[in-house]
Symmetry: C2
Subunit: 408 residues, 2 copies
């Protein structure tokens, strides 16, 4: 079996893990039609009840932003709301196949992008909830495209060579090799869960991040926080892997207990634009000051776009020796870059990261420290010089990360 | 400028003829993404207000029919009804880019296809009305795909060679050559309209089709029938070309005044299957008996699927010397094959083919002889041996076609 086939099996059987009689929605760029066709075939053969595909195209999307008047953006769409309703009511599981030009919306009027992004987030909210609280199984997997590959491999002689190099790199970090991909992933998940159990057992009160870039950030953790990694379980009890690849162990910060300053360590792609070399100061959880050398306007959008987008919803630990980090590549895509580096996310927290939160209202979750927002944007803060100290409830200080690596 | 570019300009500027501030919907297979991107760029540059793309994929569609249980077909979809509403309310003009495997649904349970086809026709009805009565500008244009090309060029050594041969053939009959495509089409439309005026001036009471295959069919024409060809005018006064290519001159039959027997002269693709070598007997307009040597089950579906699908809604004259006919190719696609041959259509008549019908209700149109139905299916009856006699109101008989060619 070739690697591409193994990759599609990984996505379908281990990623979204579609079961007999379940419905599947595949969201994908039109450029990935062949891969999507393979996924649909696999889903049907597993006994899927229905398979639906939602197509999009970066290039056509860019043209719309480029040429369209501002007044066509940010408008609620009845049909799209009904479409989302269908996906919810008929309990579709979801695979998203991403492969996008990191700078697809470069030089586009940010107001257009923000207007559209706001209304889309609002329309997607009920679906987003179901994904974040694991009501459904879902998975995100990436395929190279030329525009993306040449950004990751700027020295490749041709875009085709860049795409080939990118495939090699993707297969490496998604554990696609001569062995059975499912077996590879089962081992990988087991390793991640060992580390997850270790940090869980400390039941830390807070984590203090420090490095030589100037980061000095204390992140309080809510009582009953749960560290999560690798495989998740849906409410129906089906396992799934939300991100392919995944090397993170994460939990929820207490939204009101984040203080200090943090420096980014990798560029961040937000709304088709690059934000780079930035810092954010937090006071009682809120991002009160920030500055990016590149894309400051977009950093500001990210922090101010929705209520509570200026509070943290995730803290994730990834050792500097993670295979993605060791690839030495800058991926210009959060799915990859966040799995190469410790990261934190502004916006909504995953309910699964707090014990007993599944039956709580948004207000009750907030009261327990779990941030609620329409957005969730990870950004990378880890590096080879990251040190993390964990404070326990009884006042002990434990070295969790030393020089970028796990030390517990 | 290369021919493909000229072809996209033809589709956008002459086909749908998108105007400043108009909205455009493009319906296309995902395989034609590059062509669609060019169309969107052209539309934006002409000042379109918005451009939306509805993607589909034959291969994924086939898998759904192949593996899906019967109960997932034929279900009304709220989101799709809202989508159609949007297209209507916001006055989108429409280009459809077809390129499909003629036998895409071969060996699929016809019940699944029929259930789905019925509900789609029902949901599309309000949009279909707007297209058929020329409220909006619309155009259909075809691009080759491998599965289609190998059917048209069965002797090509590779699918790629078949696609290349098909491009050549398409460019030839759509008048894409070294000259300006718009100028070529202006001349072509002028020639068609000369012939259209000639037959209009006779104001025939009926046409009698006879050939050596056994066809002997009298088609009554309603009082006030109008012969139409080439360029149409939308209700807003914008010209457009609904079919690229087009070589037909057509009008409405009187739905109750069709008598005799007609033999098909080319295979017909209906719901992804081939119907071939068939005849239909008409009595007072109604198809009372029929038989196909190939695909009889689908012929039956076509005639019985909707109320009034067993009455005629179009009669179209195309000389045997039409360039598409002269290509000597069987296209296995009605857009091409109907422009190679005289044809008639079961189902709905175009309101534009009867004077004063635009303000009439469906019932009033029916009373004047204009058939009303959810479907409209052309099939080919012309050949080198077709003779057509026109009977005038005052009882004269005029030879309209002699041995497959215009004789007036």
């Amino acid at each position: 079996m070739d690697k591409l086939n193994k990759y599609s099996i990984l996505a379908l059987e281990k990623g979204v893990n579609i079961k007999k009689s379940q419905k599947l929605l595949i969201r994908s760029s039109v450029d990935n039609a062949d891969f999507v066709r393979t996924l649909t075939e696999l889903a049907w053969k597993r006994g899927a009840k229905d398979v639906m595909v939602q197509w999009f195209d970066d290039k056509i999307n860019r043209k719309r932003y480029l040429y369209g008047d501002s007044d066509i953006f940010g408008i609620e769409s009845k049909w799209y709301i009904e479409y989302i309703n269908k996906i919810i009511e008929e309990d579709y599981q979801i695979i998203t196949v991403i492969s996008s030009n990191p700078e697809n919306l470069k030089d586009i009027d940010p107001e257009k992008i923000t207007k559209e992004s706001k209304v889309i987030s609002k329309m997607l909210k009920p679906l987003g909830e179901r994904m974040m609280d694991y009501t459904i199984q879902w998975s995100i997997i990436a395929l190279p495209c030329k525009e993306w590959a040449v950004k990751v491999f700027p020295n490749a002689k041709t875009p085709e060579e860049a795409v080939n190099l990118m495939w090699e790199a993707i297969f490496k970090v998604t554990l696609i090799d001569d062995n059975d991909p499912i077996e590879n992933w089962d081992n990988h998940i087991k390793n991640l869960s060992v580390q997850t159990k270790k940090i869980q057992d400390y039941n830390f009160k807070s984590l203090i991040f420090k490095n030589s870039l100037g980061t000095d950030l204390e992140i309080g953790l809510p009582k009953g926080h749960i560290w999560v990694s690798g495989e998740k379980k849906s409410k129906k009890g089906n396992s799934f892997i939300a991100n392919i690849p995944t090397y993170e162990v994460f939990t929820a910060p207490h939204r009101d207990e984040v203080n200090g300053i943090v420096y980014s360590t990798k560029p961040l792609i937000y709304m088709g634009n690059v934000i780079d070399k930035f810092w954010i100061k937090f006071q009682n959880g809120k991002a009160v000051e920030y500055k990016a050398e590149v894309g400051n306007e977009f950093l500001e959008k990210m922090i101010t776009i929705h209520p509570n987008a200026d509070f943290l919803g995730e803290v994730a630990l990834v050792p500097h020796s993670s295979p993605i980090s060791q690839s030495g590549l800058l991926w210009y895509n959060t799915l990859y870059d966040e799995n190469a580096s410790c990261h934190i996310a502004l916006g909504k927290a995953y309910p699964s990261t707090l014990a007993g939160s599944e039956n709580l209202s948004e207000e009750e979750r907030m009261a327990k420290g779990l941030n609620q927002s329409l957005s969730h944007n990870d950004f990378m803060i880890g590096s080879a010089c990251m040190n993390i100290i964990g404070k326990t409830e009884d006042g002990k200080e434990i070295q969790v990360f030393k020089d970028g690596e796990w030390s517990i």
